[in-house]
Symmetry: C3
Subunit: 130 residues, 3 copies
């Protein structure tokens, strides 16, 4: 149920976008209780003048590799899940994509199940309520 | 008071964008208690590699016609209003725009009246409080 | 901790984008309790057919200069702070950028500190809790 907007300065080719998308989705399924099929993302590539960030605020040094993940999920997660997810995403991005952890920023928002319609004009009904 | 971001893979010409905008706004005014003049939207057209969705999760089959509506509104709506809105939007899109209901996804968020300034540097004051 | 998306119809050159970014950030630091270094923004420039707004709803007359600020902040602000921020942003945009207050719209959302990871795979820990 999450929908994520990924914002970048780098103008990655399609193959890199696919990798990035997969890494995020892996972290979400492993640490954020997201079903494997539940994958909805937008990737936005912006020139430097349109993606503005402070180089050092609460980080080491951000570079042109900066990536901002803005996630909207349909039900709350525990502090533990959030911590584990932040850590897993950052670790995977470094190991598999060579993005330094200083360059990884994440923002999460939550709404409720009734605020989602996946298709067919039907409100989403959580499976554990079926 | 809603602001909606419409995300698409299709690269529609202006006339089609106008139709899409109108269909959404009609569904909002008819089923979501939105005033006729209260129309604020962004339409984002993205290549396939930048709008990523699962083809089948909680749907029949999604295609390149997939459209994702992300709505932010200034006051809560009832479950009944949400259900009716999802249904009306999906029905109108099929009847007037030939988008199959499998391709229509909607996400809603809410904040409060004081979180909106429409113009003039003034906080929005709900009419029923005037 | 705020992240702001600025949406425009005007296709401003980089120097104007820098000014716009600075004006917003000044209003945030002066009236919205935002630290000077805490600056994260996206600027999105859209053709008229993709940034749709009503010309008069709760405003005088909107023109092609219309600008919509969508702000997400990590902790609530008081009604007074919100009022002062709306006013300061509108005033500065008119004085320094010549955008008429009729053209300035602002929407704010809030989440919580634990919903932010600025870098390093670490959850944000508010300074006053350290």
């Amino acid at each position: 149920m999450p929908f994520t907007r990924i914002m970048l300065r780098q103008n990655y080719p399609e193959e890199k976008l696919r990798q990035l998308s997969k890494i995020l989705h892996q972290a979400l399924t492993e640490e954020f209780a997201v079903p494997a099929e539940d994958c909805f993302q937008v990737i936005e590539m912006l020139p430097a003048s349109q993606l503005i960030f402070n180089r050092h605020y609460l980080s080491g040094t951000r570079s042109e590799d900066f990536v901002l993940f803005h996630i909207l999920a349909g039900k709350q997660r525990s502090i533990e899940q959030k911590k584990n997810f932040y850590h897993a995403l950052s670790r995977k991005l470094f190991a598999k994509f060579n993005i330094h952890p200083d360059n990884v920023m994440v923002i999460i928002q939550f709404n409720t199940a009734e605020d989602w319609s996946f298709s067919g004009g039907r409100m989403y009904i959580p499976e554990d309520l079926c």
